[in-house]
Every structure is written in structure tokens, then in C-alpha cells.
Symmetry: C2
Subunit: 380 residues, 2 copies
């Protein structure tokens, strides 16, 4: 028998059968009352996941498209952006600024660390021209979490917009857009929302809309305003990826049924189980500011990382992600987002024990799983 696939990469994540079934129904047209009421329903459900009453836009794009639209539209001429760069994705947001000629300064952060509120306050004090701050809540590439709540407290007290890449945060870790005062939060379908890739989402506050509607950004496909205007009649400006929107309805129902705070608690438990397994696995947890949606584990010195991941998949169906950029070959990443539970996580840890032992890594078989079990029992 082929090993059953256990997709534990930090996007795409596993998709529940109910969602796949919903997606495989015969296609219907999107300029219909049926689609409008579908979009109305999922838009309300997105508000619950984002914890916001802000307008939630659904893009037919990856998260990158939605982030591009948000960053550019929030930065009219005369603006200056501050981009907190602590990994590959935040590097991309700086690249968006460069591409669209947005004046910006980069706050470089050691990889494995998140953006810090104190440092952002100091940078805003130093340069009053900065009117937009771009951060990743969870830097997927370096598995680090930023101080979003504290940073939002700083930006909302000033005329500064906070644009948050919540791609591996929203629906996985505590994220309260309205309570915290975040202006824009973006996510993608293939993470905590348990869908295949194909959709990007942007929740945009009234404060951000005031800025966005004050000018005409040099964007068409990713410009947020046409999506907002169409949403007034629960329509889309360009043809939407209907199957994913259908699947979204089913996925949002799962999220409501479980309860968003219970989901945050589940991710947190799975992350703590994985971190507890690190010591007996003799693998270091990579990040200092560890995020609960994905854990990076440093591959031991004498272990070949591509071989490790290949064997995990071939022998146990466990698919982990490797590192990106400078971390390529150095870490493996285990996701705790979406349709994943304690037994999936224990399975991944067991597979790591099996393959690492067989590769000659001197660990005690069963110790990592036991550590995770204890952690799970204490979380109940």
C-alpha cells in the first residue's frame, strides 16, 4: 500500500473531504442570485475568522496578489512605508514597495525573530514621514511571530496604517483585527482556511479605506476598490474561482462549528507538542519568537535534509516543508494550521524518530512522542 499522505506543510494544508466534495459539484455561473448569496455568506464568515466588522474582500489570486493590492493602495504619493523584514515573505513586501516606486525604509530583523513594537515606535518617532507599517504576523519562512497587538496600539494612536500579512496567522493563532486596531489583514486560502490554493483575502478597515479612496492607485487586477464596490451587491469585479468560494463556505462552517478560540488553542497545543519533541529528537527549535502556526526544527549536523524529507514522505506519507532562502537544507517546518490534529502531529513526530534513527541520529526511540503526549495531556 502507498503510505497515506499527511500534508503537514505550512501551506498548502490538508483539505477536509466535505470541502473537496463541495468543490467538485458541477460549476454554476457567478452572475446569479445563487453566487451572490454564497458570497454574502462567506463574506460574513470571513469577518468571524478575521474577528472584524471590516470589509472582507475575496481575490482570485494567491495571498501575494491581495498583499500587493493592500500595500500599494495604502501608499499614495507622499507616503512612506516601513517594512519589517524578517524572512522571505516580508522581503517580498519590500519588493512590492520597490516595484511600485513607494518610498520605504526596511527594518531588518534577525531571522527567527518577530517585529517588535518598541523598535517600530522608535522608527516612527525618528521618521514622521512614515504613514504605513507592513509586518508579517507569522513569517512562514522563519516561523517567527510579531507583536501585532502591541504594534497596532502604536499605529492606531498615530496617522499610520498597519498592514498585516496574516497569511499563516488568520484562523490559526490569536488575531483580533478590530480589538487590536489593525487596519488591513491579508490571508490566503491554502493555510488555516483548509482550502486548496486559489484565493487571497484582504480585510480592510474604514480607516484604511479613507486613504485608499483618496487616490487612484496604479493597479487594476489587484486594486482593492473595485472588489469593495462589487461587494455592495455581493458580486466580483473579475471572474471568481467559484469552486474555492464554494469550498470556503464549507470550511467556514467547520470553523464556526469548532469555534475560533478553540482552533487557536488547538494550533497552540500542536505547536507546544512539536516544540516539546525537539529536545528528545535532538533537533533545535529554530525560531526565538516561535509562532504557533508552524514550527521550524533545525536539521542535525550529520543528517542530509533532502534525504530526511524524502524518506519521511516515501516511508510514512509525512510531507514537511524544508527551509527557504538561507535556511534551505537547514530546517524542516511542521504546520499546525487548519485540518490537522494531535494524532497527525504525533504521527509526524514518530516518523521523524523512525527516519532519524535509521539515518544514524543517536536518539531514544519513543522519547519525542512521549514528550508530545505529556504536553497533550497537560493541555486537555
Amino acid at each position: 500500500m502507498m503510505p497515506k499522505l499527511r500534508l503537514l506543510t505550512p501551506g498548502p494544508t490538508m483539505v477536509p473531504d466535505d470541502v473537496l466534495r463541495e468543490m467538485s459539484r458541477p460549476i454554476e455561473h457567478h452572475r446569479t442570485p445563487e453566487y451572490h448569496s454564497l458570497l454574502e455568506e462567506v463574506t460574513a464568515g470571513l469577518g468571524y475568522v478575521f474577528q472584524t466588522r471590516a470589509t472582507c474582500l475575496t481575490y482570485t489570486s494567491s495571498g501575494t496578489g491581495a498583499m500587493e493590492g493592500a500595500i500599494v493602495a495604502c501608499c499614495p504619493p507622499g507616503s512612506k512605508a516601513l517594512v519589517a523584514r524578517n524572512g522571505k515573505f516580508t522581503e517580498r513586501w519590500a519588493q512590492v514597495c520597490a516595484t511600485f516606486g513607494i518610498e520605504h525604509t526596511v527594518y531588518d530583523i534577525e531571522w527567527g525573530h518577530g517585529a517588535k513594537a518598541d523598535r517600530i515606535a522608535a522608527l516612527l518617532d525618528e521618521d514622521p514621514k512614515i504613514n504605513t507599517v507592513v509586518i508579517a504576523h507569522s513569517e512562514t519562512s522563519t516561523t517567527a511571530v510579531s507583536e501585532v497587538e502591541r504594534i497596532a496600539a502604536i499605529t492606531r494612536a498615530r496617522d499610520v496604517l498597519l498592514v498585516v500579512d496574516g497569511i499563516t496567522a488568520v484562523g490559526a493563532i490569536e488575531s483580533r483585527m478590530d480589538d487590536w486596531g489593525v487596519d488591513v489583514t491579508v490571508t490566503g486560502s491554502q493555510k488555516a482556511l483548509m482550502l486548496p490554493p486559489g484565493l487571497g483575502f484582504a480585510a480592510i478597515s474604514d480607516r484604511a479605506w479613507t486613504r485608499i479612496e483618496s487616490w487612484k492607485p496604479p493597479l487594476l487586477y489587484t486594486a482593492p476598490l473595485p472588489y469593495k464596490k462589487s461587494l455592495a451587491t455581493f458580486d466580483a469585479p473579475y471572474t471568481p474561482a467559484v469552486p474555492q468560494v464554494r469550498g470556503l463556505k464549507a470550511a467556514l462552517q467547520c470553523i464556526r462549528d469548532e469555534g475560533i478560540e478553540n482552533i487557536w488553542k488547538r494550533s497552540s497545543t500542536l505547536a507546544r507538542m512539536t516544540r516539546a519533541a525537539a529536545e528528545p529528537l535532538k533537533m533545535r527549535v529554530y525560531a526565538t519568537d516561535t509562532v504557533d502556526s508552524v514550527t521550524g526544527l533545525v536539521v542535525p549536523d550529520r543528517i542530509d535534509e533532502p534525504t530526511l524529507r524524502k524518506r519521511l514522505k516515501a516511508e510514512f506519507g509525512v510531507q514537511l516543508a524544508g527551509g527557504q532562502g538561507d535556511l534551505k537544507g537547514k530546517i524542516v517546518r511542521v504546520s499546525h494550521m487548519g485540518y490537522v490534529d494531535a494524532l497527525d502531529t504525533i504521527g509526524a513526530i514518530a516518523a521523524l524518530e523512525q527516519v532519524l534513527t535509521s539515518m544514524g541520529h543517536p536518539i531514544e526511540l519513543g522519547a519525542a512522542v512521549t514528550a508530545a503526549q505529556h504536553c497533550l495531556a497537560e493541555s486537555a
Copy 2:
């Protein structure tokens, strides 16, 4: 029993069960050898559909995203575009030029007519600054066809790039990108490719790449070059809509099995059947330059168009599209693209006869179906 849905709108179109089944398989990661070989296979298949050896890019976007990328990247500073505007979609391509500050002139064409080679030659003679021509092969909104082959003969003889919106043309009507010398052709997934919406495609010739690679366009998400670079290893620059790419493989197999020229012939037959039905239906064919992928029929004077379409769907499951822009309420549009056959078309005509008769339109029941049957028999 609910009437069986017969989706005869010019996008989305019906999706074969095999394609839906392929799309509903559990999701897998896209940074894997499996996805790379999938992308390699579909990229080759796209070349067959586009009839080209040019690079075929797969965007996670609607066709609009791919068109935006193509138009903007083909127009570096100093360029001037000529946009042939004969409907709602070509109007959008002029809007792309305006949004991105591309100097352009609009060649306005009476709705229902296509872009003409002679007029384009004259406009190019008048203004030697024009170095890019943007046309729609099939203007979906006005059901009109343009003289692509003849226009390409003009542009390829000059240093002028021809960018073709082939969204309701590629895979439906004769379109020979390389033989004709078209520089860029764009399409979307939810038309002749028989997929749900979610993907856009751009086939880009070497001549166009020379221009595109000569500068850095003000685009990130829709910029073509990163897609080309990633395609060198059959990868995607941003997370792709994996289910649709999987479905694409199945759909391309159907296209190869039938043969592209047989498909062109099928669309043409269905279009002729529908046009033959117009007279007995006492409905005028809207377009002068009729395209074979979609037919627009003018709704008779005393018939309320929304009621007509609502009853067609409620009583017979036949879903047609209405008009767009100035044509709203004035025409209905019947698609001949993708997974649609003669019996679907006869069914739609029969449903039109039934509902129009019941609404008091003085036609002879069965005459339109009979006219379509004769047309079908003659095409065999």
C-alpha cells in the same frame, strides 16, 4: 425533480465529470516533483491548444490578470498602444492602459463588429509611434469576431506587437498563434478549456519577450517575467491554484483526444445551428461579424428579458447569459464553447421556443429546432 442544469453561458461553461473528479482529489504541495511534472505536461498541452511553440504561462487569476500583465509588460515608456474597442472587455483593456499611464489611442468600433485589418493598417500608418495593438479575437460581450489572421500579417511586418484577448476564442474557434504570427494570446480557464474559473493563461512569443525583458514593468503579481523564470523548472512564482491545474490536465487530454480542428468545427456547427434557429424564433442575430464561440440573439420587443432567462432556467435548467453594458436587457447569449454538444444546443433552442410561445411570442413551435436539425445534418 429539479431541472438538470445546462450551463450555456459564455463562461463559466460546463465542466466534464472527469475534470471535476480530478479537481476533488486530496490536495498536494506545489513545490514537489509531482507538481513540476504536472505543470510540464499542462504547459505542453496549452501549446497545442494555442497552436504555438511560445511560452505558455499559467496565472492564478482570471483572464483579466493575465491580460493586464501582457499589455503593461509590452508597453515600456515611449510606447503607444492602439486598443480596438468593440465591447465591454476591450473597454477594460483601454482602462488597463489608462490605469498604468500607457499612452494609447482607441479605435472605436460599432458594437457587433470586429476589428478590421484595413483600419488597423491605416491607423498604424497615421501614427508610427504605435508599437502595440490590443484586440479581442472574440468580443464576448458583443459576440463579434475580429480579423486576427489579417491583423497579425500587418503587425508582424512592422515593429508592432499584437496582443490578443483570446478569452472566448482559444480552444473554440480557429486560432493559430504561430502560423498567423500573433505575439501574445491570453485566455481563461472557464471558457473553451472546460474548467472552473481560477486560472488565466498567456502565450508569449519570443518577439514579445524581447520587449518585455528590455525593462522592469510596474507590476508584481501579474508581471509575466517571474512566471517565465519559474517555468524553467516547471515551478510557479506564487502559490498556484492546484485543483484547477490538475483539472486542466484532464481537460487538455479531452482536447487532444477530440483534436483541436474537430473542436473548432464543432463550435462552428453549434453556432450555425443557433443562427439558423434565429429566424423561426423571430429573434435577430445581434452581431454583424458573428463569432462561432458565442451567439447573441436580440430579445423580441414585447418580451421581458429577465423573465425570459429566469423561466428558461427555472423550467428547463437552461442558463443563458444576458447582455452587458448598453446591451443589458436587449440580448441573450448562447455559448458554443467547451463541453457542449449538438443536443445541448437543440435543447436550448427548444426551451427558447417553449418559453417564448408561453410568453405570447408568435412563433411556430418546432420550427427553430427543425432549422437547427437541418443545419446539423448538413454539417455531418
